[in-house]
Structure formats: C-alpha cells, structure tokens
Amino acid sequence: MNIWLIMFIGGLLTFGMRFSLIYLFGRFQVPETMQRALHYVPPAVLSAIIFPELFFQAGLLDLSLGNTRLLAGIIAVLTAWFSRNTLLTILVGMAALLILQW
C-alpha cells in the first residue's frame, strides 16, 4: 500500500475516533452509569500515562533508588499535593531530576 494512502486512512480513522462521541452526543440517551464513569477518565488515563514514564526506564521496571525519574516524580507528586501549583510542581520536579542525575 502506498504511504500516502496509509497516512490518509490512518488519519481518517484517528479523526473518526476523536470525533465519534463528540458528534453522537445528544443523538441518543447516555446511560446514567456511563455519565458517572466519564468523571474517572481524566485521573485514570493520566495516571496510566504517568506511571510507566516513572517506573519503566529503558523498557525495564526499575524500583531501585537509582531510578532518578521515579524519585523526581515522587517529589513532584508531593509538591503538587501540598502546593496545588502547576508551575511550581514542574519546576521542582525538573530541578529534582537534574540534581539527582548530577
């Protein structure tokens, strides 16, 4: 298959999935459980992205103290928990990583 055809079909499918439920909303009754479930999408999806970034280094689960990203990530979580400040969390997390790596 031609690379352009692959890109167009792939792009169309991706757009279709992004558009699907935004387009369909209101055209049918959304069950109440489903509506409640949607509130859990942000914490579930974001954590599912964050955890592997911190725990897996070079494709391997690394629970050791040598895993600087995990340590810096924990420091960032604590900073976010107590400060609720986005910028501060990022700065502290980045500084922690640079210091730990050094």
Binding site: M1, F19, P43, A48
Partner: protein
Amino acid sequence: MSEARKAFWEGVRAELPLLIGVFPFGMIYGALALNAGLSTFASQMMSSIVFAGSSQFVTAQLVHDSAPGFVIVLTIAVINLRHMLYSASLAPYLKDLSLKWKALLSYLLTDEAYAPGILKYEKEGITPFSHWFLLGAGFSLWFIWQASTALGIFIGAEMPKDWPLDFALPLTFIAMVVPILKKRPLIAAALSAGVVALLAFHLPFKLGLILAALIGITVGTGLEGKK
C-alpha cells in the same frame, strides 16, 4: 482583548509546559521518519494528517520494516483507540457547538490538549468562550508538533542526552492530575489505573494504556456507587 482571545491565550498558557515536553519528541519523530525511508514531504505531512505522536512513531517503524499497509492502518487505529475515551469525556461540554467547531476541536484532540481542556471544563463548566480555551491548547500543540517535526527533519534529533526536556510531559500530567484527586474513588481510580499500566506495559499497541484506563474507570465508578 476580547473574551474569546483571552480564553484562547489562557489555553496556550496552560499548554506551555506540555509544549516544552513535546518538542523533543517531534524532533525525534522527524528524524526517525526520514531514517525509516519516508520522503521529507511525507514525514512532515504525517504530522498534520495523522497528528498523533505515538502512532506516527510506530508507522515510521512499520514502514521501515515493510509491514503490509492494512497492518499499519490497523495499528494506527488501535493505538489511537484511547481518543474515543477523550471524545466521550468531552462530548457533554461540546454539545452546543456548531458542527465546524466540533470537527475542528476533534481534529486537535490529543492527550496533551485533552488534559488541560477537560480539567478546565470540570472546574468551570461550559462558559460562552470555554471552547476557545480548548482551541488555544489544541492549536498551540499542533503548531509546535509541526515545527518540531520540521526541525527534526532538517537538522536531525541532535539533543544532548542529559538534557531531559521530555520529563516535562509526565511532570505536567502529575501537576494536573494530583489536584483533582479529591475523593477516595478518584484516588482509587488513579492508583489502580497506574498499577495496571505497569503490569500491562508490555502489551502491544498501547493496549496496556487502554486496559489500565478502563480498569481505573471501573474501580472509581464502582467505589462511588457503594457510598
């Protein structure tokens, strides 16, 4: 400044740390696509036609491995399945927009646009200009993705290795998710999704991410129902 423009720039500002994190990925993608044998033009255009980071990386790899076209297309679809969750989650907030707006915001709906967008909506609900916030977040990411792809194509991905800009991505997601963990079902949803994401990390096509998200959502909803 008009209210719409203000909301747009507010979206850009919320997106800023994510842009820093995404930039090196765009450069790496550009360099990788070129290496995989795609033309300069095709490498660049994939960033606007598909516009979904991880599936672009995998596509470049599969093209390099001369995988059959339908396999590549299917792979793109499966990797991007999670966008249906984002679509469902944002749908109630976008319901009153015109079809054009819905289509535009859908095209721009990436992980990085979804995160600040949904948190803004959950905090403030629908306001007359809230879709401009989402546009600001989505468009700035789109712009940086195109620019970083181009830079990666033309100068290669010569980033110093000990310059961990990519760490800005998980850090920003942490800064966004921790403050919304206000109730036990939300914390349980986040933790269970995180642990499942680790256990299922080696599943192909980002299926681990989808499985983790679904389990987290189920755990959260189940616990909420018990109260």
